[in-house]
Amino acid sequence: MDMKVAAAAVVILIVVVAGAYVLMSGQAPGAGGGLPDKVRLGVILPLSTASYASAGQEALRGMKMAVEEINANGGVLGRPVELVIRDTKGDPNTAITGATDLITKEKVPIIIGFYSSTVTYASMNAIKNYKPLVFVLGASSVKVEQLVGMERWFFHMHPWDYHRQGTVIEYFLNHMKEVPKKIFVAYEDGVYGTTSYEYFVNLSREKNAPWKVVGEAFKTGSSDFSSVILKAKQENPDVFYIVGYPGDYPVFFRNAKENDFNPKLIFIVAPEFPNYPKDIGDYVAGVDVWSPYLNTPEAKAFVQKFESKFGRAPEYWAPFGYTAIKMVVKAIEDAKSLDKEKLIEALEKVEIKSPLGTVKFKQTGKTLHQVVDRLFVVQWQGGKVAILYPEEYKTGELIYPVPKWSERG
């Protein structure tokens, strides 16, 4: 009889201890309901419109790679991760509908994605009253930054305009052997292009840069930019700097060649995006947030995996998507909850090694949670990318002035 009581006591003790353990490790339902069967993350990207869509698709590839890895390792908090995807079609209204849908109907704990400053601005403006947890991948215009300000629900991956233009000006001013005297800036006429241009002009002035800046707007997606090229040719600049979307650049290069426009350097934003045709894309330099030629173990492993999957090097949106999912999932793991407040606190503390380097959220003085704040300057040389800046990642020297079109093979 005593034995029976003792045995019962032991069983009860085991149950209580095990129960307490389970409760403390967060596996069991907490107060006010538990975790769902799946951890569903909201994703919103441009997946089907002209010049925007390839970036969105690329980010999604990265995200799916991360989800695959996470689920292969048992998911997060014992649950599989699932992406709930909405297509913005690169259109503000569609984006607003999609984001609202994710918040109110799908009730996802966080929305990851957004691309294009114009679309992001409209979306944040429309959904800010919900104070949803968002992790914006794209959008570099400070108009978006000013809109969200010090909101705790806003997390941001892409560098802001001033990071990018600051890097460009720093490079032109202090890292070129010969500082350019005249820079012609061709910029797309949306929010992204115009604010970039304003920043370039204002920061040049602030830094007392010795160059003269001439600016000209263009419409993104046009099939011919000869007129802009001819105007630039009249100005005879040292550097021809184009702020556009990826689809615009090959057209510019082709038109520059056709009109025999030979600046000492053609400089663009995100030069590593598509593999530009070698015959017109070589010697093009530019500023980029990431490079598949980066020499870190995480970057190399990611690039290798991506290449074996898709047969080409990733563009920077892929590691952006990949890293964003990894950061969010790490935060969910740390928070042991999908509760917004707990998730924000956990995100603020997250620090992981990623293909982008060691990443965490930093304050910019204008917003609270910024990931990438350092950019690279690179140049295509013989079909490969040489990293020129920052010094610690340098793999080559700038070719300047570049050969004239007539001198190329």
Partner: protein, 289 residues
């Protein structure tokens, strides 16, 4: 320097205009003969551009050498398009026709997106980016080839229309299908061939697109829009008007772009402003009947 610049701008505008003429030709043909506005015309060009791209990518075919085959494939697609889609709505109200061709346009875009993704693709055609220097004017060889082929096909087609029996039958049907039918012309067959030939012309234009531009599933939209501008400006159904209007559009874009401050951003809009002005003065277009 200024006069050299003007000359260069004129050349760029004319090259652009020549290409617009070819893009517009098929649209104008279907409208003239069948009285149907084909919103999918630009997307047929997109489809042909992908054929050209894959022929180059998989079999190393030169885009210019591929033109005959591409035109033949597109001709067959045009025949199928008529049988499957156009014929049933020929006598339907214009709204239904618009809904059909517009729907077909979206269908083609979605199909291309599923099959080939939204990635931008470009064939490396080394000679296309070669440049000829003629005095102060430089000419991109790719654009020059596109212009020459486009002009050749446009003029060739006009000769076909005015000199051959089939061309004559097409003109008769375009003027009065009922009368043509009473004269013993098989109107249905003429419609079928018209759809085939319009699609064939899209095939030629598609091949030329890959010579100079990157492609993605959405390039058709801008081409359709430009072609509509040209057709409206030139007067719907008028071929002479179409050629003049193509040049006006090409030159307007080139000049505004080069000489108006921030013109690169204004050019596409200004071109359509020209259309609005012309239509305000001549509601039937420059050469409309």
């Amino acid at each position: 320097m200024q006069s050299e610049l003007v000359l260069q701008v004129v050349v760029n505008g004319v090259l652009l205009g020549g290409f617009y003429a070819l893009v517009t030709l098929g649209l104008n043909l279907i409208f003239g003969v069948m009285d149907v506005t084909n919103f999918a015309h630009g997307d047929l060009i997109m489809l042909a551009a992908y054929f050209s791209y894959w022929a180059a990518e998989l079999f190393g075919m030169d885009p210019v050498a591929f033109i005959p085959l591409n035109a033949a494939i597109m001709f067959l697609i045009g025949l199928a398009f008529y049988r499957a889609a156009l014929k049933p709505v020929l006598k339907a109200p214009a709204y239904n026709q618009i809904a059909l061709t517009f729907g077909f346009s979206i269908f083609l875009q979605s199909l291309a997106l599923i099959l080939w993704t939204s990635d931008m693709r470009q064939i490396e055609v080394p000679y296309a980016s070669r440049v000829l220097q003629l005095g102060p004017v430089s000419l991109g060889l790719g654009k020059l080839i596109a212009f020459t082929v486009a002009l050749g096909f446009t003029l060739g087609f006009l000769v076909f229309l005015s000199r051959t029996k089939l061309g004559g039958a097409m003109r008769s049907v375009s003027q009065d299908p009922m009368a043509a039918s009473l004269m013993g012309i098989d109107v249905d067959r003429i419609y079928l061939l018209t759809s085939g030939i319009a699609s064939l012309l899209a095939g030629v234009a598609g091949s030329l697109v890959t010579l100079n531009l990157y492609i993605n599933p959405f390039i058709g939209g801008e081409l359709t829009l430009k072609a509509f501008g040209v057709v409206i400006l030139g007067g719907m159904g008028s071929y002479f008007g179409m050629i003049v209007a193509s040049m006006v559009l090409g030159l307007a874009e080139a000049f505004v772009g080069a000489f108006v401050p921030q013109g690169g951003s204004l050019a596409p809009g200004i071109a359509f402003a020209v259309i609005v002005i012309v239509l305000a003065l001549r509601p039937k277009g420059l050469f409309g009947r």
